[in-house]
């Protein structure tokens, strides 16, 4: 049987339905599956030990900011009456889920792969700190929503994987400040921002960029959706929802093509690297 990979999801609240819910982007699970792992998502932070016992590896996905109290810092100064949006968004419940799971998998010696916020969680769990907002605190303009070049550190697993440099996407406003103990920098952007880290001995690594989008239409979809301003007027949203729900409940007809991803993305080097660590049973990777 394939190794079992546990993924963490986002923590959301819908004021319309008064419901708290979990959420995960489809591309994360698909990327894990394409690399040969069975992908499931954790659903209760109290069960961190059970999840760590059952799974073979942990994928900490991207999301909102980590509460600064978790890395012994204070919220950066911000005037809530300024009319400007706050430069940070955090989720109390997500912090607990991610940190508890990360700690449990570290204790079990099992592989951990962090993406975006996930990489920052790894850094915090090992005692590191973060810059809370790159433009305000670091006074740097880091690329947002566009690709940029990163340079990889010789001697790291990611260097062996991607070469001395690579082009990656960028969707983050926070960055690693002090590195946690036992961690080393595996990639840096040209402006000095940490883009990847690895543990010196444990099978744990993280990347600041979003590799789950590679080989998918995620970026296309993102740009297309960003351009949609108004719904077309001729569609009745209530009727549309009703018909859609009816479709959903109907028994699906086998053999009829869906607009689902029929082919899983494969050959994603970073995900392949993670699955290699998992398949090795979590022994040292370098």
């Amino acid at each position: 049987m394939k190794p079992l990979i546990l993924l963490t999801g986002e923590d959301e609240f819908d004021p319309k339905s008064h419901n708290p819910f979990f959420l995960i982007k489809r591309s994360y699970g698909n990327a894990v599956a394409g690399a040969g792992g069975t992908a499931i998502m954790a659903l209760d932070p109290r069960l961190y030990q059970e999840y760590a016992d059952m799974a073979d590896g942990l994928l900490l996905t991207g999301g909102v900011d980590i509460h600064p109290g978790r890395y012994r810092d204070i919220f950066m100064d911000f005037d809530p009456n300024s009319g400007q949006p706050a430069p940070y968004v955090n989720s109390v419940t997500r912090d607990s889920m991610d940190i508890l799971l990360c700690q449990a998998f570290v204790k079990a010696g099992k592989p951990i792969f962090g993406i975006g916020r996930g990489m920052q969680v790894i850094n915090v769990v090992f005692g590191g700190t973060l810059y809370q907002d790159i433009p305000t605190v670091m006074q740097i303009e880091h690329p947002q929503g566009v690709n940029h070049k990163i340079n990889l550190t010789e001697g790291t697993a990611l260097y062996n994987l991607l070469g001395s440099s690579s082009i990656v996407n960028s969707f983050h406003h926070q960055a690693v400040k002090d590195l946690g103990s036992g961690l080393k920098v595996a990639a840096i952007a040209e402006d000095g921002i940490v883009e990847a880290l690895e543990h010196e001995s444990l099978p744990i690594f993280g990347v600041q960029w979003h590799p789950e989008t590679f080989g998918t239409d995620d970026e296309e979809v993102r740009i297309r959706h960003a351009g949609i301003i108004e719904p077309p007027i001729e569609v009745d949203p209530v009727e549309m929802e009703r018909q859609a729900q009816a479709t959903m409940i109907k028994k699906a007809i086998p053999g009829v093509a869906t607009d689902a991803d029929s082919v899983l993305p494969s050959g994603n080097p970073v995900f392949d690297h993670f699955m290699q660590l998992v398949n090795k049973g979590g022994r040292n990777h370098e």
């Binding site: 819908d14 979990f22 982007k25 599956a33 499931i40 209760d44 929802e241 959903m248 869906t258 899983l264």
Partner: protein, 231 residues
């Protein structure tokens, strides 16, 4: 003592940051499973249905859930979501059914079970009966003595109601074991397999803010389901 692993089907949505196609699960469902002593997990990839069936002890098909961070994206979501979601859920249901592992369907999940067994639905029954069952009302229900639901809660109890569709023709091998006052099916069970469905939301009938507050506590229902999953 090993806790049973319960797979919970998801709903389609978009995430806030990338507006990317995503899956969601209302926390009330996983909380109900944890409280009853199970380990809830979310399956993520269609092609891995066989792996999920092998690792899990039971399947929960929840009610309809959706989330669109920007209303102008609702159409793009509706067009894409329902076929993919329908296929995934069908595959999951059929795979579990084949193994004989327990399945619990709630609201749209119950309707899905009915359709998978070749039953049909009325898509807007309020005009038939002139009674609103949608968007959260409480009403009473009469259950058949000897049914699994009557064994838990007796033959007369209050439930919540959030549905606009109803079961019309009951699927093969299924029977209706509870009705609302005006004869709307509220609970189904399979005659032989450990497959159960409720038109109401038992995951909301427990915890700190049970709905309805005067209703029966649903913890015995989830405990019964988990017990079935353990065997």
């Amino acid at each position: 003592m090993n806790k049973p692993v319960i797979l919970i089907m998801w709903g389609s949505c978009l995430d806030t940051k990338f507006s990317a196609h995503s899956m969601m699960l209302t926390k009330a469902y996983s909380a109900a499973i944890t409280a009853a002593g199970g380990i809830p997990i979310l399956p993520l990839v269609e092609s891995q249905v066989e792996d999920y069936v092998a690792m899990a002890d039971g399947l929960l098909l929840p009610g309809a859930m959706g989330f669109v961070p920007r209303p102008e994206l609702a159409r793009t979501l509706a067009l894409e979501r329902y076929s993919r979601q329908a296929h995934f859920e069908t595959e999951l249901y059929q795979a579990f059914r084949k193994t004989g592992k327990p399945i619990l369907g709630i609201c749209a999940g119950c309707q899905k079970i009915n359709c998978e067994e070749n039953g049909t639905l009325h898509l807007d029954f309020r005009k038939m009966f002139g009674r609103e069952h949608h968007q959260g009302v409480t009403h009473s229900v009469e259950a058949l003595p000897g049914s699994w639901i009557a064994d838990l809660w007796g033959t007369s109890f209050f439930i919540n109601s959030y549905h606009g569709f109803k079961i019309a023709k009951i699927g093969d091998g299924l029977r209706i074991t509870a009705y609302s006052e005006e004869g709307i099916p509220e609970v189904i069970e399979h005659k032989e397999l450990p497959i159960f469905g409720t038109q109401f939301h038992p995951e909301r009938m427990r915890g700190d803010f049970p709905n309805p507050p005067e209703g029966p506590n649903s913890e015995p229902l989830f405990q019964m389901f988990l017990q079935a999953c353990k065997s």
